[in-house]
């Protein structure tokens, strides 16, 4: 592919992921210049979306810019990693107007800062004072439990695994008991008429 050799000159590698999907990983320092050269030199004029992924265990966000040419016959993902703490990205809204709203959403959902962005106001959550909700250390269940009490009506629910264990033990105990009873009965019978067995054998 033509793009691969162009990127090789910038010492970047183009990876084909699917039939119509390519990706290139770039360091944070070169992100802005690479996006500009994608737009101006390589002809990738459409910014389709900006995605953010929270890699909590490794301590960074993975940002993906999805770009398309005017033919719209394939997608190139430009990926970069930024630190989770005090995350900040260059704003692209002067180049792509639609980046304004995507960055506003990312600011609200992940807490990524965009210096120079004109409207970093609330997007969907109004008066939200907790941590940005799409960060993976935000626990939805805990938050919901602290906000809304559950209805107290399903207290009779049983743990099926426990019940299985109980039933199995009960069955074993019953079996054991039955066995003991049968043995005792047999012993009793043998005591009462000891000649029976002998007769049967004959």
């Amino acid at each position: 592919m033509d793009l691969a050799s162009k990127l090789e000159k910038l010492s970047l590698q183009l990876v084909q992921k699917q039939d119509y999907l390519y990706s290139v990983t770039v360091g944070f320092e070169r992100l802005e210049s690479l996006l500009l050269s994608f737009l101006n030199e390589f002809g990738y004029i459409t910014l389709d979306s900006i995605n953010c992924r929270d890699d909590l265990e490794d301590g960074f966000f993975t940002i993906t810019y999805c770009l398309q040419t005017k033919d719209r016959d394939h997608v190139v993902m430009v990926q970069t990693k930024i630190q989770r703490e005090n995350a900040s990205l260059p704003t692209m809204h002067t180049i792509w107007p639609q980046a304004e709203i995507m960055e506003r959403e990312m600011h609200e959902m992940f807490g990524v800062d965009f210096p120079g962005h004109p409207t970093l106001i609330d997007f969907a959550l109004e008066y939200w004072d907790n941590m940005p909700p799409l960060r993976r250390d935000f626990d939805t269940l805990e938050y919901v439990n602290s906000m809304n009490p559950f209805r107290e009506q399903r207290g009779d629910a049983l743990d099926a695994k426990e019940e299985m264990k109980k039933k199995r033990e009960a069955k074993k105990a019953a079996k054991l008991k039955a066995q003991q009873e049968a043995e005792a009965k047999a012993a009793l019978e043998a005591k009462n008429n000891p000649s029976d067995e002998v007769k049967n054998e004959e």
Binding site: K70, W96, D122
Partner: protein, 371 residues
């Protein structure tokens, strides 16, 4: 622009307004009847799907993606299923591919009928919504038979589809298509050729052709400006490369052009469905065997899939991390850019009465903006 905001009245158009396409509001600054500034507000329908998916296994997450856009759930299901298939390396059978393509096209028709109701209702043609919602219901009846649900189908599963075609289904579909072809002539007479619609719609909401590609406008908004692009042709998925269809375009870029593009697309959908009915394989697996839901693990990789929904390209970004849960699923529907970047610009200097009509013709679906 801010200097002009003297002596204006502020009006919130929505979230409770019959002319709005869902639970969102447009804050308008009016000077008389003319809009001087428009600002979109969402947040009335935030359900946090992208967060909910993180807590669920792949199989469990599958059932909530269809709720992301209520009028057309199937492109969401298709996107989700295809993203999982890409990540997990699943191949689906030819019959499953055909069935999925069929469901997508049926959904496109159903959505177009609903759109037609909204578009006509927003300019006061009360008759058309009555008819078109009724016609959409016939399609929902077929969905009910095929998938078990009228609106939320939960049908396209990673690895295929969940149920086989019922007996005689294709004949019923064929009959319905005959009926639809007749109905579209009626809609032509009463709606698309209607002088009231033409007078209201021509020259309103004109999208600037130069900014379409750069700003990422998709679907009918793009095709009504004369740009012949469609994900089904450019990046064919499922069976679309084996089906014969055209991409209708118009040149004017106004509300009327978008309506005509949609009508032509309905005819193309009927054409595609007729081919599918002919080519549908009789035998074949419908669902590939996948591991149990606790053992179905996604590799640590990411993917990006696009599907042409009835309102434009809808994309999903999905990343796994080697566990049974999805690390990140991001939805990028056509509405996000249309409702903010485009609508806020289009509404300036237009009339108050045209707001609902413009919104409808852009195909804005609020549940998909905020997810």
């Amino acid at each position: 622009m801010k200097n002009n905001l003297k002596n204006t009245i502020k009006i919130f158009h929505g979230p409770q307004h019959p002319g709005i396409t869902g639970n969102m509001s447009v804050e308008l600054d009016l000077l008389g009847e003319t809009i001087k500034r428009a600002q979109t507000h969402v947040g009335y329908l935030h359900r946090g799907f992208e967060k909910l998916v993180e807590r669920r296994t792949v199989v469990q997450a599958f059932t909530i993606v269809c709720r992301i856009c209520v009028p057309e759930p199937d492109p969401n299901e298709e996107n989700f299923a295809r993203a999982v298939e890409n990540l997990a390396g699943l191949e689906i059978s030819e019959k499953a591919k055909y069935i999925r393509t069929m469901v997508l096209e049926m959904q496109r028709l159903a959505t177009m009928f609903l759109w037609m109701g909204g578009q006509a209702g927003s300019i006061g043609l009360g008759l058309i919504p009555q008819w078109s919602v009724c016609d959409r219901d016939y399609m929902l009846d077929l969905f009910e038979e095929l998938t078990g649900g009228r609106v939320y189908h939960m049908y396209a599963f990673p690895g295929g589809v969940r149920r086989d075609l019922p007996e005689g289904f294709l004949d019923k579909l064929s009959d319905l298509l005959d009926y639809y072809e007749k109905r579209i002539i009626v809609y032509n007479n009463t709606f698309f050729d209607n002088v009231i619609f033409k007078k209201r719609a021509i020259g309103v909401g004109v999208v600037n052709r130069d900014e379409v590609l750069k700003n990422g406008y998709v679907g009918q908004t793009m095709r009504a400006c004369g740009i012949q692009k469609d994900v089904r042709k450019d990046m064919p998925y499922l069976m679309y490369d084996k089906l014969d269809f055209d991409i209708p375009i118009q040149q004017d870029g106004d509300v009327y052009a978008r309506a005509i593009v949609r009508r032509d697309e309905m005819l193309q959908s009927i054409r595609i469905l007729r081919q599918i009915i002919k080519q549908m394989p009789k035998e074949g697996d419908i669902l590939q065997k996948i591991p149990k839901h606790r053992k179905f693990k996604l590799p640590a990789d990411d993917t990006y899939v696009q599907t042409e929904s009835a309102r434009g390209a809808m994309s999903y970004y999905m990343a796994g991390d080697g566990s049974e849960k999805i690390r990140r699923m991001q939805v990028r529907g056509p509405s996000l850019v249309h409702a903010y970047t485009l609508l806020e610009k289009l509404l300036v200097d237009s009339e108050l009465a045209d707001v609902a009509m413009t919104m409808n013709s852009l195909g804005i679906c609020p549940p998909e903006i905020e997810r």
